[in-house]
C-alpha cells in the first residue's frame, strides 16, 4: 500500500476529503443558502403579525385575509394581469414583426437594424420610463405641448399616466428582447419547409401565415411567457406611471406596503407570495413549452442561412417602419433626456430654449453629495457580484456537468431558482431574512451584494454551462493523467478554457447590476446608495434635469460596457475550445 493510496470501504465509496470537495461544498452551500433561506423567511413572515415594542410577532392569517379578502385585491390582481398581458402582447407583436422582417424578407439595411435594435436594451427601465414622461405626460410632455401649440387647443392627446400608457412604455421597452428571441427562433427553422410550400404554389403571405408562423409557434409561446413574466415583475413602469394615478399592480402594492409608516411587511409578504406563485406558474409553463420546442425543433444542424422572401416594393416600407421603430424606442428617449439635461428646467425644444443650453445639470450631478459614493458603490457592487457569480457558477456548472454526485440536478435547480423571484420580492425576502437573523449585514453594502449575487446567479449558470458542455472531458482528464491535482486542473485548464463565457457573463452581470433597481430599492440605506437609487431619488424630488444628466452619462457608460462585451465575446469566441 502506497502512502498516497486511500482507503475504501467495500460498499460505499466516500469522496476523498481534499481541496476539491471543500471548494465544491462551499459553492453548493452558497447557492443553497442564497436561493432558499430568504424564501423561507418570506413565507414565515407572511404568516406573522408585525412585531412591536410591546407585542411580539404572532402567527396569523390576517395578512392573507387582508390581502385577499377585499375587492381592492381583486383590482390589483386584475390590473397586474391586464398590464402584463398587454405589455407582453405589444412587445411580442412588435418584436415578432420586426424579427420576421429582418430574418425572412429582403428588407434593406438588415445588419445595421439588427445592431441598432440592441441599443434600447441598454437603457435602464427607469430612464426609459422617465423619458416617456418627458415626452407624453399631460402637462409637460413634448408631444402634447407640440400638438397643443400647433393646433392651438388644450386637448391632451397622449396621457402616459394610464393603463394604456403603462402598457405602451413597458411593451416598447421589452420589444427588443422579443425581437432578439424571435430572431433566434426564426434562424433555427429549416428553410426547406418553406421552400417546399413555395414550390406548391403558395404566395409569400400564405407561407408567412400558414408555414412560418405555425412552425415557429412553440418557440413563440415560450417567448410570450417570458415577456409576460418580465412584465408582471416590472416595477419601474407601474411605480412611476401607475402610482400617481392610483393604478396599482402587485409590484407597486408591495412597495407601497413597505414604504407606508409603519411599514406592513406581513402584508407585503403575502402580496409577494402571490406574485411568486404567478411567476413560478409562468416559469413552469415556460419550461413545458421549451420542452415542446425541442420536440418541434426543425433545426437540422446544417446551419445554412434561411432563404429570404422577396416582398417587392414592400421592402422600402419595411425599412421605413423599422426606422420609425428605432426612433421611438431608442432615439427619442435618449434625445429627450439629452435635451432635458442641457436645460435649467424642463422646457419644450425651441430656438429660445437653445440659447439657454447649459451644463449646470452635469455640474449639479457631480456636486451632489451622494454622487461619488453612489458611483463607488455601484462599481464595487457590480464588480464584486459579477466576480462571485462567475466563479461560483463555474464550479457549480462543473459539478453538474462532470461529477456523478447524487442529487447534482438539485444544484442546477437551486442555482437557477432565483430566476423566478421578481426583483422586488427578492429584495423583500432578503430584507426580512437579514432583519431577523441579525448578523449585521442589514443596512450595509453587503446585503445588496447578497441580493445581486442571488439575483444574477442564474445568468452565470447559463453562460458557464453552455461553454462547459462544449468542453471535451478529455481535456481535463489529460491534465489529471499528467499528475495535476483537481485544483490545479481547474485553475490551469478549466477556467482558462471557460474564459470566453466567463468574461461575457461577467460583463453582462456588471451591466445588469448597475441597472438593478427593484431589489436595491428595499435594501439601500443612507450611505449605501447606488446609481439607480440616485436616479430614483432625483425622480422623487422632481429634479428631472439632474436626473437626465445622470441618465445620459449612465447610458453612455453602459453602451461602452456593451461594446466591450461584444468585443470580448467575438475576440475570445474565435479561439473555440476543443480540438
Amino acid at each position: 500500500m502506497t502512502p498516497t493510496a486511500t482507503l475504501l470501504t467495500s460498499s460505499v465509496r466516500l469522496p476523498r476529503p481534499d481541496a476539491k470537495w471543500f471548494v465544491v461544498g462551499a459553492a453548493v452551500a452558497l447557492a443553497a443558502w442564497l436561493s432558499s433561506v430568504p424564501l423561507g423567511f418570506l413565507l414565515w413572515q407572511s404568516f406573522m403579525t408585525p412585531e412591536t415594542a410591546t407585542t411580539p410577532a404572532q402567527l396569523t392569517f390576517d395578512n392573507y385575509l387582508t390581502a385577499y379578502g377585499s375587492v381592492e385585491t381583486l383590482r390589483v390582481f386584475g390590473n397586474s394581469v391586464e398590464f402584463a398581458a398587454g405589455s407582453a402582447s405589444l412587445a411580442f407583436v412588435v418584436g415578432t414583426f420586426f424579427a420576421w422582417l429582418n430574418e425572412r424578407t429582403d428588407t434593406p439595411f438588415k445588419s445595421a437594424f439588427f445592431a441598432l435594435s440592441l441599443v434600447p436594451l441598454i437603457i435602464p427601465a427607469i430612464l426609459f420610463t422617465v423619458s416617456w414622461i418627458l415626452l407624453a405626460s399631460p402637462k409637460i410632455g413634448l408631444i402634447n405641448v407640440a400638438i397643443q401649440e400647433l393646433f392651438a387647443t388644450d386637448r391632451v392627446v397622449a396621457n402616459i399616466y394610464s393603463m394604456a400608457g403603462m402598457i405602451f412604455v413597458d411593451g416598447l421597452h421589452q420589444s427588443p428582447l422579443a425581437f432578439l428571441m424571435m430572431t433566434a427562433a426564426f434562424r433555427s427553422m429549416d428553410p426547406s419547409l418553406e421552400e417546399s410550400a413555395l414550390m406548391c404554389g403558395a404566395t409569400v403571405w400564405q407561407i408567412a401565415l400558414r408555414m412560418t408562423l405555425k412552425l415557429v409557434w412553440p418557440a413563440a409561446a415560450a417567448v410570450f411567457l417570458i415577456l409576460f413574466l418580465r412584465a408582471i415583475e416590472s416595477f419601474e413602469v407601474p411605480a412611476l406611471l401607475g402610482l400617481p394615478v392610483g393604478i396599482e399592480v402587485y409590484t407597486s402594492s408591495i412597495y407601497q406596503a413597505v414604504q407606508t409608516y409603519p411599514s406592513d411587511i406581513g402584508l407585503a409578504s403575502s402580496y409577494a407570495v402571490a406574485l411568486l406563485v404567478i411567476a413560478s406558474l409562468c416559469v413552469y409553463a415556460q419550461s413545458r413549452t421549451a420542452a415542446a420546442v425541442e420536440r418541434f425543433s426543425t433545426v437540422t444542424g446544417k446551419g445554412f442561412r434561411p432563404r429570404v422572401m422577396r416582398i417587392g416594393r414592400w421592402r422600402y416600407l419595411g425599412a421605413a417602419t423599422f426606422a420609425v421603430y428605432l426612433t421611438v424606442v431608442a432615439a427619442l428617449p435618449f434625445l429627450v433626456l439629452l435635451w432635458c439635461s442641457l436645460q435649467k428646467f424642463y422646457v419644450a425644444p425651441s430656438l429660445a430654449a437653445l440659447q439657454n443650453v447649459t451644463f449646470d445639470a452635469y455640474r449639479a450631478v457631480f456636486g451632489y453629495p451622494v454622487f461619488a459614493s453612489a458611483v463607488w458603490n455601484s462599481l464595487v457592487l457590480s464588480v464584486a457580484s459579477a466576480t462571485i457569480v462567475a466563479l461560483t457558477t463555474a464550479v457549480l456548472c462543473w459539478v453538474v456537468a462532470r461529477t456523478k454526485l447524487p442529487g447534482r440536478w438539485l444544484i442546477d435547480n437551486l442555482a437557477t431558482l432565483p430566476l423566478m423571484f421578481p426583483g422586488l420580492v427578492l429584495g423583500l425576502a432578503i430584507m426580512v431574512c437579514y432583519l431577523n437573523l441579525g448578523i449585521g449585514v442589514y443596512g450595509t453594502l453587503w446585503i445588496m451584494l447578497i441580493a445581486y449575487v442571488t439575483r444574477f446567479m442564474p445568468y452565470g449558470m447559463r453562460y458557464n454551462s453552455t461553454s462547459l458542455l462544449a468542453l471535451h472531458k478529455e481535456l481535463e482528464e489529460s491534465a489529471i493523467m499528467s499528475g495535476a491535482s483537481w485544483g490545479m486542473t481547474f485553475w490551469r485548464v478549466v477556467l482558462p478554457l471557460l474564459k470566453p463565457g466567463l468574461i461575457a457573463g461577467w460583463i453582462y452581470v456588471v451591466i445588469v447590476s448597475v441597472r438593478e433597481l427593484s431589489s436595491s430599492i428595499l435594501l439601500y440605506s443612507p450611505g449605501s446608495e447606488v446609481l439607480s437609487i440616485m436616479i430614483w431619488e432625483y425622480w422623487q424630488n422632481g429634479q428631472y434635469v439632474e436626473l437626465s444628466a445622470l441618465g445620459v452619462m449612465l447610458i453612455a457608460a453602459l453602451l461602452c460596457l456593451v461594446l466591450l462585451e461584444r468585443f470580448a465575446s467575438r475576440r475570445f469566441g474565435i479561439a473555440s475550445p476543443g480540438v
Partner: protein, 375 residues
C-alpha cells in the same frame, strides 16, 4: 509487469440500473511490451483502459504495476490518477487550446509535487519535442497544429513525464488513412526504442496486428481470446474472433472423424474437408469451418486433390478488381465463397473454376458460440 486481475466494472444506465461494462477481465503485460485491447465499440476496452488509468473506478478487481498495487477492491486501495504517473494519449488528443506547444508538453512537469527547476524542465521538454519532431514549432499555439502534429504532441506530453506505463486510447482513429499508416510505424518504432510498457486500445484490427506484441480480443465486456497477432489471425478460437479479425468464409460442417495431430475430417455442402481443430470434437458434432479468402486457391486448369487438400469445382459468380488483387465470389452448389486472387487471373463471370482449400488453412470452430455480435 502490469497485472490486471478479474476486473468488473459497471455504470448506471438510463433508468439508474447498473449496466455491466466489463466482466472478469484479466491479463498481464510484460515490461516493455505493447499490449492491445481490440474489439468493436461498446465491448469494454476503453472502460478497461480508463480503469487502469484511474479515471474510472471498477466495482471489483485488482490492478498492479511492478508489484505496486494501484487499485484493489479487496484491500481497499485506490491511487488517484494524478499520483499514478501513467502517461495517456486520448482519442481526441486533448491538446489544451489555450497553451502553446511548449506549454502543453511542459504541463506535466510543472504540476509535479517536486517541481524541477525551469532549466531542467526546458531541457526535458525540448528533448521530447525533438523526439517527436515538434521542436521547431514549440512556441506555436497548439491549435495551429495539424492533426498528425497534435497526435505527436499528445504523445510527447505523455512521454515527458517518463511514465511507468503508457496508455493509448485509439490514438490513430482521428487521422486520415495515409497519415494513420505513417504514424503506425512511428508509434511502433518509438515504443520499441523506449521499451515502454504500453496498453493500446483500438477497434481497428489491422492496427492491432501491426503494432502489438500481444492482443486481447474483447466482446461484450469479456476477453474472448489473448494471443500474438499471428495466433489471433491464424488460430481464432471462435466465430466472433475469426469474423472480427480480417475477412473470412464460414462453411457449416459436421464432424466425420478425428484424424489425429489436431486434424479432423468434416462433411460440408462443398464436400469433405480436412480441417484443423483446437478442441477434441465428437463424431457428428456441428462445427463451422473458417477459411480466409487468401487461402481459397483458384485455378482455371484442373487441380489435383490430395489426402489433405480438397479440390472442388465452382462457377464464378462475381468479381471485383481492387488493383493489388482481385476478389472473386465463387459459387459451389449453394455455398458462396470469397476468394482473393492475383490480378492475372482473368476467368470471366459464369465460367467454371477450380477451388482448392488446404487443411492447415481451414479452422473448425464451435458452431454454438454464445451470442456473437457482428463487428
Amino acid at each position: 509487469m502490469l497485472i490486471v486481475k478479474s476486473l468488473y466494472t459497471e455504470y448506471p444506465g438510463d433508468r439508474g440500473q447498473a449496466v455491466r461494462a466489463t466482466h472478469d477481465v484479466s491479463f498481464a503485460v510484460p515490461d516493455g511490451k505493447l499490449f492491445t485491447l481490440l474489439g468493436p465499440s461498446g465491448c469494454g476496452k476503453t472502460t478497461t483502459l480508463r480503469s487502469i488509468a484511474g479515471l474510472e473506478v471498477p466495482k471489483s478487481g485488482e490492478i498492479s504495476l511492478h508489484g505496486k498495487v494501484v487499485f484493489s477492491s479487496a484491500a481497499g486501495i485506490l491511487v488517484p490518477p494524478n499520483r499514478r504517473n501513467f502517461g495517456m494519449v486520448f482519442q481526441s488528443y486533448a491538446i489544451w487550446p489555450h497553451m502553446t506547444v511548449y506549454q502543453n508538453a511542459a504541463f506535466p512537469l510543472q504540476v509535479r509535487r517536486h517541481k524541477p527547476d525551469r532549466k531542467k524542465i526546458a531541457d526535458k521538454v525540448m528533448g521530447v519535442l525533438h523526439a517527436v519532431a515538434l521542436d521547431d514549432v514549440a512556441e506555436r499555439a497548439a491549435t495551429k497544429l495539424s492533426g498528425g502534429q497534435q497526435q505527436r504532441l499528445a504523445l510527447a506530453r505523455a512521454l515527458v513525464m517518463e511514465p511507468q506505463l503508457l496508455l493509448l486510447d485509439e490514438p490513430l482513429s482521428n487521422l486520415d488513412a495515409k497519415l494513420r499508416e505513417r504514424m503506425r510505424f512511428e508509434l511502433k518504432r518509438m515504443q520499441r526504442e523506449l521499451a515502454l510498457t504500453t496498453v493500446y486500445v483500438t477497434h481497428d484490427q489491422s492496427e492491432a496486428l501491426a503494432l502489438s506484441h500481444e492482443i486481447a480480443v474483447m466482446s461484450e465486456g469479456r476477453i474472448v481470446q489473448i494471443g500474438s497477432p499471428r495466433e489471433i489471425y491464424e488460430r481464432p478460437c471462435n466465430r466472433f474472433v475469426a469474423d472480427f479479425i480480417g475477412t473470412t468464409n464460414f462453411i457449416d460442417a459436421q464432424v466425420i472423424e478425428e484424424t489425429g495431430e489436431g486434424r479432423c475430417r468434416v462433411g460440408t455442402p462443398v464436400g469433405v474437408l480436412n480441417v484443423q481443430c483446437l478442441d477434441r470434437l465428437r463424431r457428428n458434432e456441428a462445427v463451422i469451418v473458417s477459411v480466409r479468402p487468401e487461402d481459397v486457391e483458384l485455378s482455371e486448369p484442373e487441380l489435383e486433390g490430395t489426402d489433405l487438400d480438397t479440390v472442388c469445382v465452382g462457377v464464378v459468380d462475381a468479381k471485383v478488381f481492387l488493383g493489388e488483387y482481385l476478389d472473386f465470389r465463387v459459387k459451389i452448389g449453394d455455398v458462396v465463397l470469397l476468394a482473393r486472387a492475383h490480378p492475372s487471373l482473368r476467368t470471366p463471370v459464369g465460367d467454371r473454376i477450380f477451388v482448392r482449400m488446404r487443411a492447415e488453412k481451414c479452422m473448425a470452430l464451435p458452431a454454438a458460440s454464445v451470442s456473437v455480435p457482428k463487428a
